[in-house]
């Protein structure tokens, strides 16, 4: 197994000169290729901040974030954007699709930014939408899709760039039970069959139950890191 993500003594401090608040406090963590890891913890424990740091959306106050050996904290903003496009897939909590584009166009958009040829784009879009069970909704706009369907399109979009791993910040938070289960099954299937690495934050027990590794954060610190038997 290759180590994809390495965090060394990672910290993020807000208001360092007045009243310091440690959102992430000295986290050391390694994520291997093909893992299906849940980041859990109460609200304000630092889950989203940690995902943002791993995804290069925010700069840490200290420590390192290495993606396949490359320390992304040393990159400038433009290089980070490029790095994210090539290596990281994102699924956000909600409202993360472009509302004026159809499901097909939303998925294709990422490949367009990667300057992939049209033939390749068309094939991959069709494959991905089939994989997430939305081939019949390819021409629907986000407003015409349910929350669960939107999140499935978001997963397809995250996969479209052929990333090294996918970060999902509470992907089921706004979904009903059926949609949440459906989304989780798709993510688990992609992880199992395509060995796509997933790291997601959640406090949804259904999601936690599906994870094969559970990392628990409290007050920005990792307090437990356990293997789990998904059921």
């Amino acid at each position: 197994m290759n180590t994809i993500i390495e965090l060394h003594n990672l910290s993020k401090v807000y208001n360092p000169k007045t009243i310091p608040v440690y959102a992430v406090n000295g986290v050391d963590l390694q994520i291997e290729e093909g893992e299906f890891t849940a980041l859990v913890g109460p609200s304000g424990s630092g889950k989203t901040t940690l995902l943002n740091l791993i995804g290069g959306l925010d700069y840490p106050s200290g420590g390192e974030v290495k993606i396949e050996g490359v320390d992304i904290t040393k990159m400038n903003e433009n290089k980070l954007i490029d790095f994210r496009l090539k290596n990281i897939g994102f699924v956000f909590q909600a409202y993360n699709l472009i509302p004026v584009l159809t499901a097909r166009e939303n998925v294709e958009f990422v490949m367009l930014m990667q300057k992939k040829p049209k033939i390749e784009r068309d094939k991959l879009v069709a494959d991905l939408l089939t994989e997430v069970g939305l081939s019949d909704k390819r021409d629907s706009r986000p407003s015409e899709l349910s929350g669960g369907q939107q999140q499935r399109v978001a997963v397809a979009r995250a996969l479209a760039s052929k990333p090294r791993f996918i970060l999902a910040d509470e992907p089921t938070a706004n979904l009903d039970s059926k949609s949440a289960t459906n989304l989780l099954e798709i993510m688990a299937k992609l992880n199992k069959e395509d060995h796509m690495t997933f790291l997601f934050s959640t406090h949804d027990q259904r999601v936690i139950d599906k994870a094969r590794r559970i990392v628990t954060l409290v007050d920005g610190k990792v307090i437990s890191d356990t293997k789990n038997q998904p059921h």
Binding site: D58, L85, K86, F92, I98, V100, F109, M113, R157
Partner: protein
Amino acid sequence: MMYLLLAWRNMWRSRRRTLITISSIFFAVLFAIVMRVMMVGIFDKMISDTVSMSCGYLQIQHSGYWDNKSIDSTFEENPLLIEILNTDKRITTWNPHLESFALASTGERTKGILVTGIDQEKENRVSKLSEKISSGRYLDQNDKGILLAEGLAAYLNLKVNDTVVLLGQGYQGNTAAGKYLVKGIVKLPIPQMNKSMAWLPMQGSRDFLSTGARYTSFSLMVRDRMQVGEVKQDLLDKIAGMRATAGVNYTPGSSYTIMTWQQMLPELDQLFQAKMAQNVIMSGILYLVIAFGIFGTILMMLNERMHEFGILIAIGMKKRILAGIVVLELILMSLTGTLLGIAGAFPLVLYFRFHPVRLGGDWAKTAEKFNFSPVIQPSADLKHFIIQGYAVLSIAVVLSLYALVKINRLKAIEAINS
């Protein structure tokens, strides 16, 4: 293509706001164009009427003529000069003049007037004098009669077939005197001219002034008023070349001088410039209103979509591409309003171009009082349409710099959380 599609669809996300912005641009462009072409049309007509009846857009004179208007400062006919004028495609037509001031007298009334010796045919091509005859007829090739402006004829109580006596100073101190039969009365659109002008056939004028084959000026009409400076310079160069070829020790302007209509009619030019400046101020106010409208749209657009911008940057969209899409959106919006404004103005302007507004009653009298023609016909010069388009697009581009700066400073994480 996808980026263009994205910009176009984004533009219609808030349909009502976009329609309001486009409508404001549409009306501003429409008003600005109509206002400008009407203004330019009025002045084009006024300048064209004035120069065709007086000095032309350009006038070739003997050096020093303009300062003392002496009949002694005249020049002889020169075939080389005539060839230059006939071969320049920018000069639509030209007509020779032999002008002098004289006293016109009949019965107990006398008035100082400008008598112009004309080549009937050429003059008619420029000033369409025959079409302005209100009674009597235009001068024939060998006519010995005179044409009088309507106001002058009225002052002197003269009608067609009456006789007028002219008295003035001829070439090299000769006395100029003659008695002429009134062949026609001319109604001029410019009131000032209507009170003081008379025309003799060229030969009749030469006989009156004893000048022989000499002229005071050649008045030139050009295809495009804006080309006046360029044509003048080319003519000066050609005249210099002509003299050099002829082997005469020549300094440009020593024998001939060329004057533009702006030099000869400075008051008219100043009035035109002042009105154009006034028009620019009015258009500026209109565009300021548009600018605020567009800026409001930009502010709302940026605030509403901050979260989305954050997501786009997060998934790997470069800021410059994102900014490009937003700018494209603004330009598309402005372009749509501008093109609709131009499209709306075009038939309106064309209609009034072919159906000019003829002022009547007090409006006509007031216009004439200020030397304006009572006919309002807009200019159909496409330049005025294009300038308005450029103005609005420039505003949109300048204002979109705000969006560029805002997006460039955007932090993905802050935007996502907004």
